[in-house]
């Protein structure tokens, strides 16, 4: 059965709350900032939305439910998405269908987290049951160690080098220097990348994201609603979502995208080469390489060579993670699952300001989330087109 197109549903009012390394304030504060930012961008009052979707690791003991009372919202559609790096696209998928079906008219999607002193360690100790039982007790390296194993295996299997991963990190840092809100503000050379302090071999400092506090948000509504309010908007050409793909792979060398990639491009009615920019989920460079492979830009194992031959900066031939991505802008918890999506909405609506890719009209956004034990479980992707075209 063919999937229903997302006709007449659009994304608007992208808003990023500037990140900070540590925050005294709890996740509720950051979620409120994110929500207010997107509402202000659309000129809406809180009582004018009737749908609310939240992703956060640090809201405990609250969830989206507690936030409704906390923030004085009265939605008729509510979602709580515990999918980390996939939460932005999953929020988009669910909210879009709700709006399409008339279950809600305007849904605010918010990814927000705080980062208090020691909260990252506490998050790691009990991130998931499998992590608590079977990965954290083995050196307590957290995701650094998980991705070290994945990177080690990927390098051995496909001959990728540290330089290949450095190519990605260095380009993103160049992009981040144009983003005034990025946490990383100094240039990064390949030499610095290679010489960086080792964290969990073969991963070193510049392969790792910096945990921080922040929020990202956008609105989902019908196209006529956006038109009526004069909001620039992005259309959803296609989306995919998958969980626990390829469970028998000994080490994760591919993600769920590989299961659904054909459907993605078929639904979008275009090809990877049509993308003006790509926003991958980049908590570590190796996973960005896998996304290019699994999303059809090149064959499995050829990602490093494919990317090496391309300029990944804003002015390059394949602009990638144009705001610096998580590697250079920071990882604000579940907002890390939103950062690429929110930036992509800005890009295709030509509102990205200093990070704007000149003629951007089509973007691929990809999400990846939740290292439950030894691999990321959630994957998702979306193709967006600027509404003005």
């Amino acid at each position: 059965m063919n999937r229903l197109a997302y006709d007449d549903v659009v994304l608007a009012a992208p808003h990023s709350v500037p990140y900070i390394r540590y925050s005294n304030d709890p996740a509720h504060y950051w979620a409120a900032k994110g929500l207010k930012g997107t509402l202000d961008a659309a000129g809406l009052r809180p009582d004018q939305i009737d749908g609310f979707s939240v992703a956060s690791f640090t809201l405990f003991p609250d969830s989206a439910v507690g936030l409704t009372q906390h923030l004085g919202l009265c939605p008729r559609w509510l979602d709580n998405i515990p999918m980390g790096g996939a939460s932005g696209i999953v929020a988009l998928r669910r909210a879009a269908r709700a709006v399409q079906a008339g279950d809600a008219d305007i849904v605010a999607c918010v990814g927000a987290d705080t980062n208090q002193i020691d909260s990252f360690r506490k998050l790691l100790t009990a991130f998931s049951r499998f992590a608590m039982d079977a990965s954290y007790p083995y050196g307590a390296g957290g995701p650094n160690a998980n991705f070290a194993l994945i990177t080690d295996r990927y390098m051995a299997e496909y001959g990728a080098t540290r330089e290949d991963f450095g190519h990605i990190a260095v380009a993103q840092r160049a992009n981040a220097l144009r983003n005034p809100d990025a946490l990383m503000k100094t240039p990064l050379t390949l030499e610095q990348y290679i010489a960086a302090r080792p964290v969990a071999d073969p991963i070193a400092l510049f392969d790792c994201v910096m945990p921080c506090a922040g929020a990202e948000a956008f609105l989902v509504m019908r196209e006529d609603e956006a038109q009526r309010r004069g909001l620039p908007f992005a259309r959803i050409d296609a989306t995919i979502e998958r969980h626990n793909a390829f469970p028998d792979d000994p080490v994760q060398l591919r993600g769920g995208w590989a299961m659904d990639v054909d459907q993605l491009w078929q639904m979008a009615d275009c090809a990877p080469s049509d993308m003006d920019l790509v926003q991958t989920y980049d908590d570590y460079p190796v996973i960005s390489v896998m996304q290019f492979e699994d999303l059809g830009f090149c064959a499995k194992g050829e990602g490093a060579a494919f990317l090496r031959a391309r300029d990944l900066t804003i002015t390059g031939d394949l602009p990638h993670n144009t705001n610096g991505g998580q590697l250079s802008a920071g990882q604000a918890g579940a907002a890390g699952g939103y950062i690429g999506l929110v930036e992509a909405i800005r890009q295709v609506t030509r509102t990205a300001g200093p990070t704007q890719v000149g003629d951007a009209s089509r973007a691929l956004v990809s999400g990846f989330g939740m290292i439950n034990y030894d691999r990321g479980v959630c994957s998702a992707a979306a193709v967006l087109t600027g509404g003005a075209s």
Binding site: R129, Y136, Y138, G141, R153, P198, P250, D374
Partner: protein
């Protein structure tokens, strides 16, 4: 090749003893099954009773057929190391003290990937897995080289998973016990730095004292478990340098409950076997608890040697069985409290020893050397439960299978 572990330098009394940070403690209930198997020294994983699929990490339902019947079954401990890392930065205090730390992904033939600690000699390719208790008393898996190598046990990550006597100072509580000579010998052979041996009522002469006193690295020290002041004094002098404490003191008199007309023997049995352990725990426990992180010769283990009838009474040794059961119960509490200091508590359950108080019991009996061997092996592997001798192993197995049936079996012949 593992570098041989060097004897530790003398402690500087002006420097704070390093804190005994523990590796991460929290586990799900299912994962405690792994811990329980590690305590017994087995390499077992959950295996679906319905479809046979091996599970890891521990689950509540089968990943293949959703069956909830997932018994722990011994597994071939062989696998292949397919990814590895050396962790250099961790927010966890225990690992931070011990960086860098090697870990990796081992693929088992049964189709599961296991994240595990890596021995320093392990390289990508075939490995042998062990399931051990870590310093927090939780079950963890480690990959070793397929072949045993020289000084392998000295690997710092492996040493954390046991209480190896090498370079450690040991206190054996009862010099006169028939097991003592063999224990001393085995511990010295395993590389113990010093063995202190406790002697009650030193004015009483006993055979073998001179030979024991003449042994190199052995010191006979005054210690009477039935005397609180004596235990306190011994703890005052020895507590700070007892890395492994082995309580081998026992008092028993044969006889059924109805064969006795008073509680004199029963009081003696409790005095030594139960209250003696309590006095020792109160005297030595706090100091050992505080020294669990004290380097190469940190406090590491407490061992109680008990009759296997602590599990199920032998009606022909009614009082002794009861006192042993009390001691076993106290051992569990001691283990729970010592765990916070990173100190292991091991129970060695034995069958009847070959002494005058078990003369009426037919063989097999436990030879002192066999006991010593099992005890040192248990220390090296960091076990919590060791059943020593065929009788004890048989009893533990029957007790695990059906404690009520065992009770009836043991009652045969009683009360005639």
């Amino acid at each position: 090749m593992t570098d041989p572990l060097q004897p530790p330098p003398k402690k500087n009394p002006q420097v704070r003893s390093p804190l005994a940070h523990l590796p991460p403690v929290p586990r799900s209930r299912a994962a405690l099954g792994l811990t329980a198997r590690a305590a017994e020294g087995r390499f077992a994983l959950q295996q679906c009773a319905d479809c046979g699929a091996v599970q890891y990490p521990p689950r509540d339902a089968c990943r293949v057929c959703l069956s909830t019947d997932l018994p722990w079954r011994d597994q071939p401990p062989m696998g292949a190391l397919i990814a590895e890392t050396t962790i250099r930065i961790s927010p966890d205090l225990y690992f931070r003290d011990r960086m860098p730390w090697r870990m990796g992904t081992v693929r088992l033939a049964s189709g599961v990937s296991v994240l595990c600690h890596l021995h320093g000699d392990v390289r990508k390719g075939p490995v042998r897995l062990i399931l051990r208790l870590d310093r927090a008393g939780q079950g963890v898996i480690m990959a070793l080289p397929e072949q045993e190598g020289p000084d392998m046990a000295d690997d710092p990550q492996l040493r954390e998973l046991g209480a190896d006597p090498k370079h450690r100072r040991v206190l054996i509580t009862d010099a006169r016990a028939p097991t003592t000579r063999a224990l001393v010998r085995a511990l010295l052979d395993a590389g113990a730095a010093t063995v202190f041996v406790g002697e009650a009522e030193p004015w009483r002469r006993w055979p073998g004292r001179d030979a024991l006193a003449a042994m190199d690295r052995v010191e006979i020290v005054p210690l009477d478990l039935t005397d609180s002041a004596s235990v306190r004094e011994a703890a005052g002098t020895l507590g700070g340098k007892t890395d492994i404490l082995i309580n081998n003191a026992a008092f028993l008199r044969p006889g059924g409950l109805l064969e006795r007309s008073d509680t004199v023997f029963a009081q003696q049995e409790l005095e030594v076997n139960y209250l003696g352990l309590m006095r020792l725990a109160q005297g030595f426990g706090p100091m050992m608890h505080a020294r669990g992180g004290d380097g190469v010769n940190s406090a590491a283990a407490w061992v109680n040697i008990l009759s296997a009838h602590a599990l199920a009474a032998d009606p022909a040794h009614a009082g002794y069985s009861a006192a042993s059961a009390a001691a076993l119960s106290l051992t569990q509490s001691l283990r729970a409290e010592m765990r916070g200091g990173g100190v292991r508590v091991m129970t060695v359950l034995t069958g009847p020893p070959d002494d005058e108080w078990h003369a009426e019991i037919p063989p097999p009996k436990v030879a002192p050397r066999a006991l010593a061997r099992a005890l040192v092996d248990g220390l090296q592997r960091g076990l919590e439960e060791v059943a020593c001798g065929d009788v004890a192993r048989d009893l533990v197995e029957r007790w695990q299978r059906d404690a009520k049936v065992l009770e009836r079996e043991l009652a045969e012949g009683a009360g005639r």
